[in-house]
Every structure is written in structure tokens, then in C-alpha cells.
Amino acid sequence: MPANKTSHLGELFKGLWKDNPIMVLLLGLCPALAVTNSAYNGLGMGAATTFVLLGSNILVSIIKPIVPKSVRIPVYIVVIAAFVTVVDMLLKAYQYELSRSLGLFVPLIVVNCIILGRAEAFASRNTVLRSALDGLGMALGFTLALFVLGALREIIGSGTITFFQMGETEIKFNLLGENYPGILVMILPPGAFLTLGFMLAARNAIQKRLDKKTR
């Protein structure tokens, strides 16, 4: 990877559009497709992943001088698993309902390929600052994609959009009226694939336009 070519801001923003983990790299699709039946679930999963990705990228970048090459993968896994366990405990303690609805997918962040991928491909070769920006950018791109995916599925599937939910308090808007019958398939797994497919198509179409203009 040509390291010093990109500016620091470039490292931050590349995850949002150019190298978006979901829409371009197609990494971490398992949690992305499974939990995004509402906008809030997408946001929650994104936030949990952001914490882990930012933490692991920073730590991997700090300890890289002392880690021998042959054991680097086990070391990264230990670091990532520790952050995931922390986020799992925090969710259970302070966002109990969210942790119930995300269920097993929080512990499964350990095997999200984006995180190990960024540790191996980026954080282990770049400075701490760059790694932090890269982690944050990638995670925000992931969160953005999950939020859009969740919001589209929720709006089409049940006519609502939920930004926050905790006990009795919730920020939820009924966009399509009380009598909207809902389109079940959008809430079910096939809806996730369909929506993601359209999102990829839209992203590619926009990218093509942009390329033509610059050329």
C-alpha cells in the first residue's frame, strides 16, 4: 500500500465513499445483512463496530514494533476479542434492549473481516494517527451503510423509522401512516439482500457519473 500518498483527511474520508467497507469492499456482510431490520439496530451495530475498530486499530499500531511477524495474527485476534468483549459488556450494562436485539452478533464482531483486515493491511504498517483516522473512517462508512440499509428496510417493511429506543423512551417516526400494511419480505433476510443490491447499484451508477465528469 502506498502509505504516504494520501492526506490525513483522505484516510478519514476514504471509508465513507471510495473504500466503503460494505458497498465497495463487501466486507462484514454477515452482521450487515442480519441485524439491519430497523434503523436503530443498524446504528447500534455500527456504533459497537466503531468502538472495536477504532480501539483495535490504535492499539495494533502502537504495539506493532514489538510484535514478531510470525505471531502477529494471534496478537491482533487477542486485541480485537478484548475490545469486543468490552463492548458486549457495556451494551449489556447500559443498553440492555439493544444488546438483546443484536444478540449473538455483538460477540461475532470478533470475526468481522473488516476489523482484522484493517489491523493487518493498515494499522500494522502505518502511524498511530493514520491508523486511528483509517479505523474511524472505515467504521463510519460501515455505520452509514448499515444505517441506510436498516432505514430503507424499516421504512418499506413496516413504514416507520426508529432512531433510538430504550425502555419507554423512543424516537420513532411513522412515515407511511398508521394503516400501512407493511411489506414483510423487507424485514426478512431476503429484504436485506435486495436492498443491499439496489444500494450497490446506486453507488456504482453515481461513481460512473463522477468518473465521466473527471475524465
Binding site: N37, I63, I66, V67, P68, S70, V71, P74, V75, V78, V79, A81, A82, T85, V86, M89, L90, K92, A93, Y94, Y96, G157, S158, G182, L184, I187, L188
Partner: protein
């Protein structure tokens, strides 16, 4: 330093540090987590225990009992049973009951039964993997209204497809049957083992899991 030794030390130190960090984090979050799980159980128990002559699952309950039903639990045949008392008398049970043959695996429910006449006072699904929007609709109080408030002999406790009085959820007969299966188990316990339930000593640790899950 030989490479192998370095590998060993680095890996050990990092794993040890991660372990220490997690132990610290665990100490911080342990309290709130136990509190959350307690509240969740407590809320479900309160939801299904009797409060009125004709219980309605869509009305929020605020029944007060002489004891803390949550701490007055027993295990019987793998069912965990919470007991509610008023004026020295056992008035209601919240029975953990498993519905077999759900659309996906089994479901775990908490079934509320009034001690005097066996009337179903509420049913709360604690764990299920039914299809959202189809089978999962059995968690809605509007669906449960046709069951709650009836005694074991007041209606025929099976779905209309099987000749009973309960409307099946359209497209999710299996899930509806499964919920009735869980309720039937609880009703059988109330009918056949009522005295045993009333006399059993409460569990010392009410968080214990009775193994039928």
C-alpha cells in the same frame, strides 16, 4: 534474544494485559448487568401475574403482592415457578413453560395462572425465533386477548383449525399451536400438582435455572 522466546513473551504479555483489562471492565459492568437481567425477569413476572377479575394483556399491570414473587421461586419438573401471595394465601403463579415444535426450535414463555380457578392471567414470550411479522405476532397483546382471562374449561384451548376456539395467526398456525402447547403444560401443572407447588420450599437462589430449557 532468540525469536521463539520473544514470540512467547510478547504473546503472553499481551494476553495477560487483555485479561487484566477485561477483569477490570467486568467489575465495573457486573452490577448493572445483573440489575438489568433482574428487571427484565421482574417485568415479565409482573406482566403475567393476576391483578384483576378479568385480566387484560393490553392493560399495564401494577399488582402488589405481600411477597416478592421473584424471590419465591421453585423448580418442578424442569419448570421454574414464581409464586405470588396475598393475605397469606397463594393467589397466582408465573410458570416458565416451553412450547415444543415451534416453527424454529422451541419457545420459552412465562405463563400466568390464577391459583383459585386456573384462569390464564397472562402469557409472555421470553425467547423465540419465529418469523418476524408472522409467527412473532404471538407476542402482541391483541392476539393474546382471546386467551387471557379464560379458565382451563371455559374455552377449547386449541386453534380453530384443530377444532378449538383460538384464532390461529394466519400463515403461522405452527407458532400459534406452539404457544398453546406451552400454556397447556402450565395448566396441567396447576391442575395436577397444585398442592405440591403450594407447599414446596422456595429456592435459596431464585436466579437458579430449572433445567428444561
Amino acid at each position: 534474544m532468540p525469536e521463539t522466546l520473544k514470540m512467547l513473551i510478547v504473546l503472553t504479555v499481551i494476553a495477560g494485559a487483555a485479561g487484566l483489562g477485561l477483569a477490570g471492565m467486568h467489575d465495573v459492568t457486573e452490577g448493572p448487568i445483573i440489575e438489568n437481567e433482574r428487571n427484565f425477569t421482574l417485568r415479565s413476572i409482573t406482566k403475567v401475574l393476576p391483578d384483576a377479575e378479568k385480566p387484560d394483556p393490553c392493560v399495564k399491570k401494577d399488582a402488589v403482592f405481600d411477597n416478592e414473587p421473584m424471590n419465591d421461586a421453585i423448580c418442578l419438573d424442569g419448570h421454574k415457578i414464581y409464586r405470588a401471595r396475598k393475605n397469606g394465601e397463594l393467589v397466582g403463579l408465573a410458570i416458565e413453560s416451553i412450547g415444543d415444535k415451534a416453527y424454529d426450535g422451541t419457545i420459552l414463555t412465562l405463563v400466568g395462572v390464577r391459583m383459585s380457578d386456573g384462569v390464564l392471567t397472562g402469557v409472555e414470550v421470553l425467547r423465540h425465533r419465529e418469523t418476524p411479522g408472522l409467527g412473532a405476532l404471538f407476542t402482541r397483546c391483541e392476539y393474546q386477548q382471546q386467551m387471557v382471562g379464560n379458565g382451563p374449561d371455559d374455552i377449547k384451548w386449541s386453534v380453530k383449525k384443530d377444532g378449538g376456539d383460538i384464532d390461529q395467526l394466519s400463515g403461522a398456525t405452527i407458532s400459534s399451536r406452539c404457544m398453546l402447547n406451552a400454556i397447556a403444560k402450565a395448566q396441567r401443572l396447576w391442575r395436577e400438582r397444585g398442592d405440591e407447588i403450594a407447599q414446596a420450599e422456595p429456592l435459596e437462589d431464585s436466579r437458579e435455572v430449572c433445567d428444561a430449557r
